[in-house]
């Protein structure tokens, strides 16, 4: 398809910040490939009732909507006001996000159990220290016990917490006492992982309460069951099975795909099958087969959070974040894209049809029409992994080399900053970091997390905010798509400290670390919670007292709402750019952006301009420093 090169260039610059991404955005347009940006344009205008949160599509007395200009209708058929409809919509979205994280966590722990019982294929318990530490928290005997026995007891204890009747989740006790007391005071201590989600679904049913404040408090409780429950279990379980990350260097951007090797992209969120694919590509027979098919080797690369998990633990190169999934295929060089779940475009198989790429779905709960389904089961995971690699190799001869275009310069990055690794690098205690904060060399820290959203130029929000914060001597920690964005921009390198303010730069240079630390996948936002919790405990304060902030500059998903809410509920003031679907209710807007301050000393702000977002975060950090008397 001929498109004017000038138009291509301009359009690609609107869509994406990164040069390598722009190159492939242009190729996709030349190829006539429909991508997420095209679909967003075709969706214009997007319904204002939906965007403002005042559309209720729950029951069949409706669907209903409220006049945002104050006229009639002022209530849904059932009598719900704009406040109630908006609050129920927030809770609905948040519960879906919490469910996604927590169900991911459950699957990891299930694999841990099967591994402990000797029923899984290919898995080993790799971090025995962490196994023992976490088991001890659960009151599980570790002395003289086999690691399998400990793992079995821990897995059972964790799985029990999904539906526990104890009315508490063990990991929640990791929070500082003061923060926990605040949760108790407002009745938002999560009682089990599944229960809060089920109760959320109950509460959004017609006729279950009409008090928007009460509904939003439950939203906070549900988010806490994710952050300090399901997500944290996902992180801890994955660390025990696959190893706790330590700093490493690797490569990032679409340039990690290779011209003369079989390219396999691992896309999604849960590393349980992908970890087996990492083992499978070392198989001598498969390597031989690849050679026979004319490839120089097998090149495994990650995408989104499955990619982050593999990057953190093994330094596997990562091709990109959420908006790169179609672009990777558009390079024409991908033999197989393996998908597990979450953030995978439902149209991905149609995208693949434009090239020789095969999409392999692996989860029973995430099938896509047109994909080859090779289902993951722990009992034969390694066999399945080998089968997938074989499929990719056999697809290599189908690649049309004339249609291949791969950007030629992958960027280097440093990743692997688990909470344990950061603490370890500081000498086992946060004292050096605290001293730097007290001395004002580092003003505070901000967690930049979340997604890509085609409404915002890809990576623009993450990069602009990240740079703006480090310039102001604010340390940045990142997960998910945000971290991948910073990787592409070269901000995850120790050299990037030159972009930081003098104070932060001196600390980074002394420790040889980047000013922005990659802490993992989106469930690993739990690592950020632990970082905050451990610092607060050393200071004997609550998380809400610390000079911290959060931001989700390009968020799109329900999971991001849950993360934002558990940041805020844990005391971390959080800025979003794309507005939450709440502006149809001034009361809900006021509660989330202001009223919460009075409850939990933290709230949301909505600010699309990343420089202004940095101003807001800096102001919060300085206010909290003042509160601490520093």
């Amino acid at each position: 398809m001929y498109v004017d090169p000038k138009v291509l260039k301009e359009e690609s610059e609107k869509r994406s910040l990164d040069k390598t991404d722009q190159e492939i955005v242009q190729k996709a347009m030349e190829d006539g490939l429909e991508t997420v940006w095209d679909r967003l344009e075709k969706q214009q205008p997007q319904c204002g009732f939906g965007q403002l949160g005042i559309c209720c599509n729950r029951c069949v007395m409706g669907p209903c909507r409220i006049d945002p200009f104050g006229g009639e209708p002022k209530r849904g058929v059932c009598g719900a006001t704009n406040d109630l409809i908006t609050a129920r919509n927030v809770l609905d979205d948040l519960a879906a996000g919490a469910a996604a994280h927590s169900d991911h966590g459950r699957e990891v722990i299930e694999v841990l159990l099967e591994t402990a019982e000797g029923k899984s294929q290919g898995y080993k318990i790799q971090d025995v220290d962490k196994l023992k530490t976490v088991a001890a928290e659960y009151g599980i005997e570790t002395k003289g016990e086999r690691k399998e026995t400990i793992a079995k007891n821990l897995a059972l204890a964790m799985l029990e917490e999904f539906g526990t009747i104890k009315n508490e989740i063990q990991l929640v006790k990791r929070a500082p006492q003061k923060t926990q007391d605040m949760w108790k005071k407002f009745g938002i201590v999560p009682r089990s992982v599944d229960r809060e989600i089920v109760e959320a679904l109950h509460r959004i049913h017609m006729g279950v309460g009409a008090d928007y404040v009460n509904i939003l408090l439950h939203a906070l409780r549900t988010s806490l069951s994710d952050g300090w429950g399901g997500s944290m279990m996902a992180t801890e379980g994955s660390d025990i099975l696959f190893g706790t990350p330590t700093p490493n260097t690797a490569l990032v951007n679409l340039g990690v795909l290779k011209k003369d090797e079989v390219n396999i992209v691992l896309h999604g969120h849960n590393p349980i099958l992908s970890e087996m694919i990492v083992i499978a590509v070392d198989d001598a027979e498969l390597k031989k087969l690849a050679k026979e098919k004319g490839a120089k080797g097998i090149n495994l690369v990650g995408m989104c959070c499955t990619g982050n998990e593999l990057l953190m633990r093994h330094g596997i190169p990562i091709a990109g974040n959420m908006l790169d999934q179609e672009l990777a295929i558009a390079t024409g060089s991908v033999e197989v894209m393996v998908i597990d779940y979450q953030c995978i475009f439902p149209s991905i198989t149609d995208t693949a049809k434009c090239y020789h790429t095969k999409i392999v779905s692996t989860s029973e709960k995430s099938k896509v029409p047109g994909a080859t389904h090779l289902e993951f089961h722990p009992e034969n995971a390694l066999d399945t992994a080998k089968e997938i690699v074989k499929l990719a190799i056999e697809n290599y001869p189908n690649r049309d080399m004339n249609r291949v275009k791969i950007p030629d310069k992958p960027m280097k990055l440093m990743a692997g900053f688990s909470e344990e690794a950061i603490r370890g690098a500081l000498g086992g205690t946060y004292k050096p970091l605290i001293d730097a904060i007290v001395a004002g060399k580092i003003r505070g820290a901000v967690g930049i997390v979340g997604c890509n959203n085609p409404k915002v130029k890809q990576d623009y929000g993450h990069i602009t905010l990240g740079k703006e914060l480090i310039k102001r001597d604010i340390l940045v920690v990142e997960t998910g798509c945000a971290a991948i964005a910073s990787g592409k921009a070269g901000l995850l390198l120790p050299e990037a400290a030159s972009l930081a303010g003098d104070g932060l730069r001196s600390v980074c240079e002394a420790l040889k670390i980047p000013p922005i630390l990659h802490m993992g996948s989106c469930v690993d936002c739990s690592r950020i919670l632990m970082l905050a919790a451990n610092i607060a405990k050393e200071l004997n304060v609550g998380i809400e007292d610390l000079p911290l902030g959060g931001a989700a500059p390009e968020w799109y998903s329900q999971k991001a709402i849950s993360i934002g809410a558990y940041f805020v509920a844990s005391g971390v003031f959080t800025v979003l750019d794309v507005p939450l679907k709440v502006f149809g209710s001034p009361n809900v807007v006021n509660l989330l952006t202001d009223g919460l301050n009075g409850l939990i000393n933290s709230a949301f702000a909505i600010e699309p301009d990343p420089v202004k977002a940095a101003d807001i975060l800096e102001e919060v950090i300085e206010k909290k420093r003042k509160g601490l008397g520093i």
């Binding site: 204002g48 945002p68 200009f69 409404k455 699309p608």
Partner: protein, 205 residues
């Protein structure tokens, strides 16, 4: 003269008007029937996006004199005296596009409709819901609009409300209670945010 007045500042882009219009121009006159019809009915009002993601529902203004009516070579376009509407005789339309060339609003469209038995495209622009009007009902798009962006009535009456508001505003220190409510703060805040978003991505002008 009865007309549909558009208050663009109150349009939120929900496209209810488009769906209601398509249903009104279906055989079944029901949503569930309309989506299964062949030819599938199409809306004759179009919610278009402008700068800052603001929207405008565009439809035939039933001009008088109407340029389209003046240039139609087959006499397919005529004026309904009772409702002042510009209407199309689908059997006379030859889809030459002359009307579209002169339409100042760009709202002429050529589609199939059940109202003509031949299998061809004809000018299916807004017919002002003339059948509904003759039954004493308001146009379907206006009925569907829940934000007051579309209003139906005598044009001078509709204009008078704004005039009266202005009089109140200028004569009372607090601005008085307007008949046309101001844009609420929360909605303005939302629009300001969306405008910023259009400055940092694919909606850039």
């Amino acid at each position: 003269m009865n007309t549909v007045m558009v208050k663009p500042e109150r349009c939120i882009g929900c496209r209810h008007c488009e769906i209601a219009c398509a249903i009104e121009h279906s055989q079944s006159k029901t949503l569930f029937g309309a989506i299964a019809e062949d030819p599938i009915p199409k809306p004759r009002i179009h919610v278009e996006v402008g700068p800052g993601l603001l929207t405008f529902p565009n439809r035939c203004r039933h001009c008088d004199p109407a340029p389209c009516l003046q240039v139609c070579p087959t006499g397919a376009l005529s004026r309904d005296q009772e409702t002042d509407s510009v209407i199309v005789d689908y059997n006379k339309c030859i889809a030459c596009g002359a009307c579209a060339m002169v339409c100042p609003f760009g709202i002429i469209q050529f589609e199939k409709t059940y109202q003509v038995s031949l299998d061809r495209n004809v000018n299916t622009k807004c017919d002002h819901c003339i059948d509904r009007q003759k039954e004493g009902r308001i146009p379907a798009c206006v009925e569907a609009c829940k934000t007051g962006a579309l209003e139906f009535g005598d044009i001078n009456d509709l204009i008078r409300t704004t005039r009266k508001d202005f009089t109140y505003k200028i004569l009372t220190p607090s601005g008085g209670e307007p008949e046309v409510p101001e844009i609420p703060e929360n909605i303005q805040a939302f629009r300001d945010i969306m405008k910023k978003i259009t400055e940092i991505g694919i909606f850039q002008e």
